[in-house]
Symmetry: C2
Subunit: 416 residues, 2 copies
């Protein structure tokens, strides 16, 4: 069982979590509970570190101290939850990453788990003790505390579930499952009972916030069944949530499972780049060097003029840095001018069924054309089609696609 | 070097501490820095634990979790100070108790240090790295985090100084040294250059707040020279502080070193207790069982009546509990009535010179008699005389005794 920051945001919330844990223990399950820092606590600690000095370059000694400071957030939550469980009459103890030990590499601030020695932990659980484990952290080289980066508590939970051969990894969060689309955009959004690892990976890659890529990759690698469910349901009437599992364990496959919008997009168009080998590489090498993630690249070459236009998307938060970097390099790269636009959104349809069904892309393009929505850019994978459109049209597009792929309530699939 | 909670209360204060550490390092010293939690942080964490459940009995599993939670305070300070030192261009790292390891017994919440393995720590310091150590905590049985109780950071500092064979242990605090009496009571109070371990022990025992008994005992046992000085002095113009050292290292001994008042006193008088063996023992066993510390016991037996009056002092905070407990036991103990009084204070004169000089007690009693101050109770040790007086007279008594023992500015000792 894993509980994130909003689920343990206050002592009242921690007591609610304890009631959920109690329910599972009383039902006869052996339980390890992974907890995040109380909501707001990690940010407070990160801010304190930032005030103590300029941000540190990767793998610097400063990152090691940053990890030692930030890891205290989960240490507090784990101790408090163990106390609350003890006061309810249960045997419980907190486990810090270094106590297990959950070993990581030395990439402080974004460490990767290298090994979990679950002998002592597993023995305690087998003896009927509730293990309350600090998420997000482990022990790196030289016995120093390391942290796994944002979303790290999910990674801790999935990795522990795999190491302990857990029957299931329940990720409790502030939503009650994975939805066919963002419920804030349409009342037609439905909770999905089962979804495959690959679809969740695509969802994470296009900006869905439920689970981050690394935790899903890990679950897939170890075939660990992960359930997403709400910690805000009454403890005695939990919702069923969404099970994330192997494609083969899902009997009734939808062709398209989700329509996922991403409003955190911006485009940059570089006009009249000399159409010579290495020019595009120079641009993207510079952006990568500044740690700016780019996506959806389109190059429209024009052989006659000897120039090409290059356009790409990036996250809105990176746009200003990207534009500044490119303007600083304008002379070196040799382009004529540059345009940027924040009023764009990416809408993706995702479904493993695409692999075996034709016509999914056609349905998408026809639907958007019928609604008069212009597609600025397209990218695809084996189980995903993404289009970049005007952000003002995104909500309309999501509703239309949700209906077109038969995801609305009480309707049968309409596509091929 | 040890810095307490008020010395690291904010990032601004931590930067001031860094400037002091820097001065010592630049002067060529190898340095280990022991830090407390930022002021207020320990109380916040203790409060969070208290809200999570009722206070735990000693050695309970709950104390283990309490320690895991409360220990995060020092962990944050040590990481932040290490970061600040690094940003000043120094090599520094934080050391948690378990990383050293600083081993303790299993008395969680008030653990005692059993062993310090200083091999790795000492090597790091010898290599020129500044070691920033979390005070107050260590690692107990089963690899669990333990804490040393209030004042524990001083104990950590003295124990580390002893283990590392440090030339000196500098305790930085919010006062600039040990004074002949409380400077708030008289402008005649003077900072003492050198004071013996035994005198400091007596001062701690009569309520002086500078250093707690356990840290002074430890310093005495290992003959570790401890200096008390202010972290609020300008880093480039530090005050000399007070050196706490062996009696033999103090050339010019005062007969009396300090006049120490303690206003945190209350008296309980039990009237007409049957004068039989075991009655007094019953009273004090009951009080000890409730963890109520008592002091200055006087029994005035009257063989004729067959009854005795018993009076003792306790801390003001314990008075109500003591009175309630005794009233509950009144029938069993068989006393007639009970009186209590908060308007008392204890004034102690302390000095190793008493051992070889007569007349110290006489000076005290004569001085108080001259000023018309009534002595309610007296207790003595080899190097201390304490009297219990009306609290309203305490300030006057302190000034008179301070003068009588020649502790005022620019005067020569007046007593024998």
């Amino acid at each position: 069982m894993k509980f994130g920051g909003t689920s343990v945001a206050s002592l009242e919330r921690i007591r609610a979590v304890a009631a959920i844990v109690r329910r599972e223990v009383d039902a006869g399950h052996s339980v390890a509970v992974v907890v995040s820092a109380m909501a707001g606590e990690t940010n407070r600690l990160v801010e304190l570190c930032a005030e103590a000095g300029e941000p540190a370059p990767a793998l610097d000694a400063r990152n090691v101290e940053y990890d030692a400071v930030v890891a205290t957030g989960e240490q507090v939550t784990s101790g408090i939850l163990a106390l609350v469980m003890q006061n309810l009459g249960y045997r419980a103890r907190s486990w810090q990453g270094w106590q297990i030990p959950l070993k990581t590499d030395a990439a402080h601030g974004k460490a990767r788990i290298s090994e979990i020695d679950d002998a002592e932990l597993g023995e305690a659980i087998d003896n009927g003790e509730i293990a309350v484990v600090t998420g997000f952290q482990g022990i790196g080289r030289g016995g120093r505390i390391s942290t796994l980066g944002r979303g790290g508590s999910d990674i801790s939970a999935v990795a522990l579930a795999a190491a302990l051969n857990a029957a299931r990894c329940d990720i409790y969060t502030d939503v009650d499952g994975v939805y066919t689309t963002d419920p804030r955009l349409t009342k037609q959004a439905r909770r999905i009972s089962k979804i495959s690892y690959d679809e969740m990976l695509e969802m994470a890659s296009v900006g869905a916030k439920v689970l981050q890529t690394r935790s899903v990759e890990l679950a897939k690698a170890y075939k660990a069944p992960v359930r997403v469910l709400s910690s805000f349901d009454p403890p005695d009437a939990p919702g069923p949530g969404t099970l994330i599992c192997d494609e083969d364990d899902i009997v009734e496959q939808n062709i398209v499972s989700t329509v996922t919008p991403d409003f955190d997009e911006a485009t940059v168009t570089i006009l009249a780049v000399p159409d010579e080998p290495g020019r595009a590489a120079g641009i993207f090498t510079a952006l990568a060097g500044a740690n700016i993630n780019i996506d959806m690249i389109v190059q429209s070459a024009s052989r006659q003029s000897g120039f090409a236009n290059i356009s790409f998307t990036t996250k809105e938060g990176d746009l200003d840095r990207a534009v500044k970097l490119l303007k600083d390099e304008q002379e070196k790269i040799g382009f004529k001018s540059l345009q940027s636009d924040r009023r764009v959104a990416k809408v993706s349809v995702i479904g493993v069924g695409m692999k075996s069904h034709a016509g999914v892309a056609a349905t998408m393009f026809n639907t958007l054309a019928e609604k008069g929505i212009n597609i600025q850019n397209i990218s695809t994978s084996e189980i995903k089609i993404s289009v970049l459109i005007d952000s003002d049209a995104a909500e309309y597009a999501v509703r239309a696609l949700h209906e077109a792929y038969g995801l609305d309530h009480k309707k049968q699939p309409a596509q091929a």
